[in-house]
Amino acid sequence: MVNNGNFSVGLKRYLVTRGITMFGVLMITLLLTISLVGSNMDTILKQGVIYQVRAEITENTSIVQGFNDPDEFEKFVQQKIDERIETLGLDTPWYSPQRLGYTMYKILILDFGNATFLTSDSGSSNVGEIIFEKMPKTVLLFTTATIIISIIGILLGAASSNKIGSKLDRITSTFAVISSSFPVWWIGMLMIFVFAFVYQIFPARATPTIEPDDPGYIAALLYHMALPVITIVLIGFGAWAYLVRNFMVGIMQEDFITAKKTIGIGKKKIVYSHALRNAAPPIVTILALSLSGSLGGAIITEAVFDWPGMGRLYFEAISVMDLPVIIGSTYILTVLFLVSIFIADLLYGYFDPRVRTSN
């Protein structure tokens, strides 16, 4: 299927343009984030400096005793504060080219500085450490859910495309439309209500109470993960099955399938082996895209289930206005988002001959 001669030229060009666009997006995202929170950040940083300088001076009793006039003392303090602000470069506003460039450079090399309020589980307030502690949990939750959704979706979709208009097909389509109209987080609230309080099967809060170094931690984590995973799967698999079904229906009308039918190959074999294989490219592409899409939704879903991932971190950072964490998580979320879009593009370009050969 892959013709290497054409492949390299068209796809390379395609990937280079995509890559450049992605980098542009990353830069724009950074710039936007910084400009949205920049003025707030300046105020907070300056207040921090004022507080720090005052504390340093008042702790040092010899300086305080050297002044008799409170006005003079105030002047001295103010002068010290101004000096400190100048040495830290805070006298120029956040949008001055040097500071903007410096901030962006720092973020690009993943140096997000220290969080104002939040800390990691191990007590560190380094934003990078906090984020990289939370990220695996988000990835774990959403990849698990996406894998389960796609397996159920592909099987169900293929089965209903096998018998168009059957009861199974109609139920799948109806379920797809209805389930995708409900907000995941609302279903989450209901699930918590029913399965954590009415029937006490699962824990209501998805954060395990055991310490991470405990040997039972993984088991506890999986047990706490069950309710969010079930919820995400419940809302997601219908739409997936419907999508797969539609691809399959399209392919089943292609000439080569008709030819196979006339040869006398069994319908079941055609559906599950020939047609499904041909439907794979768009399905895989959309899989990558849906994974990236669910990352954005993670903020609300994790807030509902109290799942200790990036989404909840983001939500907490927003509620206490912890700016370094907000900037850091937005950046990392964007990178994750772009990486999965890029993978989707790559797959799409690889599978779609029109992209490969265009110039």
Partner: protein, 453 residues
């Protein structure tokens, strides 16, 4: 892209069961909105977040229709108005307010409050008593209004939890065969032989005695606290959920429809122009489109809401920023096809202006697609706004369904089993979304005959 006339669309649409269901639900929602806007005064909903307004409502009570479903009747929260009788004897005037209630529930009321606004001079004696269904009269309270030589208007509240009432009830101790360790309402509404609810008609009487001048009652009501109230119950902050849910309907429709119309119009014009112009303009416009497409929408919406403003109108604008992109892509490819058609080329040769060609010849061709997209993109707008509100970033002056759910989550409604606080808002969000999905899918099937299978 096939050109379908409006007539054909109408005919096809009327044949689609799904589409008609959608229209049916939507008209229901619109009807609810119209009734809400015209019947429920806007002030009630503007004061949604003002606790003062809701003080006489019960806390987290179930919808009153629950009583139809269960055999145990939960006491309803009642606000009772008085019948006023006036008499004069030996220079003493008596204003008697009678609050009658037929109490047929299987549990004690949680409390009662008399609220009255009176105008008087001098001092006045107030006596509160109750006549029970078994004919026994209980004197509950005997107090006086603060003395004043001038005419004054006085607001007064008498609570069932008043220690004086408890003290006065102790006088009837020998009549009852149980310990008086229970609350006042559980004595007043109890059978004599056992601490069990006594059903029947209770009459609460508030007598105001005055010498010479009678007291003038300006406002008065008795609130009999129960655990069931109204159509949809109340929340932890005593708010009547029916009002919040009803007002949420026009708001959700407004948000959903304005975001989708705005983004479809922008996307359509952007895409058509880009496709029509072609070459470098197209390239540049599509790159910009790619950039917006790759921005993670939710984190940005959150930052925008936090840093700029969470006003509902700005929020609609923010939502538009992220939702025109897909439509621009599709309409670009459609316009690429249409611009090669002969009549468009002919118009070009005749020297018509670009803007005229776009608005006269290309855009009308895309209208059916535009209508389908408007319908399809409404649910996403509603759920995204609900999601933001759920995170607590909604506009507090316009309470939406998402905000009701936010409050439910904050007060741990799931943990305490307040199902009536969680279930209805979500169902309403879903139903509104479904109506548009149905209409959109039906339109889409007509506009893109390829999908009709």
């Amino acid at each position: 892209m096939s050109s379908v006339s409006t007539q054909e669309i109408k005919k096809e649409f009327l044949k689609s069961k799904l589409g008609l269901t959608g229209i049916f639900i939507l008209s229901g929602l619109i009807l609810v909105s119209i009734i809400t806007i015209s019947v429920i005064p806007a002030s009630t909903f503007q004061e949604w977040n003002n606790p003062e307004k809701w003080i006489s409502y019960p806390k987290t009570s179930v919808p009153s229709w629950v009583n139809f479903l269960s055999s145990d009747k939960i006491p309803e929260h009642k606000i009772i108005n008085a019948e006023i009788f006036q008499s004069q004897e030996n220079g003493i005037s008596l204003i008697s307010q009678q609050f009658g209630v037929s109490f047929e529930y299987d549990d004690f009321p949680s409390d009662f409050i008399f609220e009255m606004k009176t105008k008087y001079t001098d001092s006045h004696l107030v006596q509160i008593k109750v006549i029970r269904p078994d004919g026994i009269t209980l004197e509950l309270l005997s107090t006086s209004l603060p003395y004043s030589d001038k005419e004054t208007v006085h607001n007064q509240r008498y609570f069932s939890t008043d220690s004086m009432i408890k003290k006065n009830l102790n006088a009837y101790r020998d009549k009852f065969d149980f310990d008086f360790t229970v609350g006042t309402t559980e004595i007043i509404f109890s059978e004599l032989y056992k601490n069990k609810i006594q059903k029947g008609n209770y009459i609460f009487i508030v007598d105001s005695y005055g010498i010479e001048k009678p007291v003038e009652i300006l406002e008065s009501k008795m609130i009999l606290g129960g655990k069931a109230y109204g159509l949809m119950g109340t929340d932890e902050l005593r708010r009547d959920l029916a009002i919040g849910l009803l007002w949420g309907t026009p708001l959700a429709l407004f948000i959903g429809i304005s975001v989708s119309i705005g983004s479809v119009v922008v996307g359509l014009i952007y895409g058509v122009y880009s496709g029509y112009k072609g070459k470098k303009t197209d390239e540049a416009m599509m790159r910009f489109n790619d950039v917006i497409y790759a921005l993670p929408a939710l984190p940005f919406l959150i930052i925008l809401a936090v840093t700029i403003s969470n006003s509902i109108f700005l929020m609609i604008g923010f939502l538009m920023i992220f939702s025109w992109v897909g439509i621009a892509k599709v309409s670009r490819s459609m316009s690429l096809q249409i611009k090669t058609r002969q009549y468009v080329e002919a118009a070009k040769i005749m020297g018509q202006k670009d803007s005229k060609i776009i608005f006269r010849h290309i855009l009308p061709q895309l209208l059916p697609y535009a209508f389908a997209s408007i319908a399809i993109s409404v649910p996403a707008a509603i759920t995204t706004e609900a999601g933001l509100s759920f995170l607590g970033l909604g506009d507090p002056s316009f309470p939406t369904w998402g905000q009701i759910l936010h409050d439910a989550n904050t007060y741990g409604a799931a943990a305490q089993g307040f199902w009536w606080w969680i279930v209805p808002p979500g169902i309403l969000i879903a139903i509104t979304g479904l109506a548009f999905v149905f209409i959109g899918n039906a339109l889409d099937a007509i506009v893109n005959p390829k999908l009709k299978r």
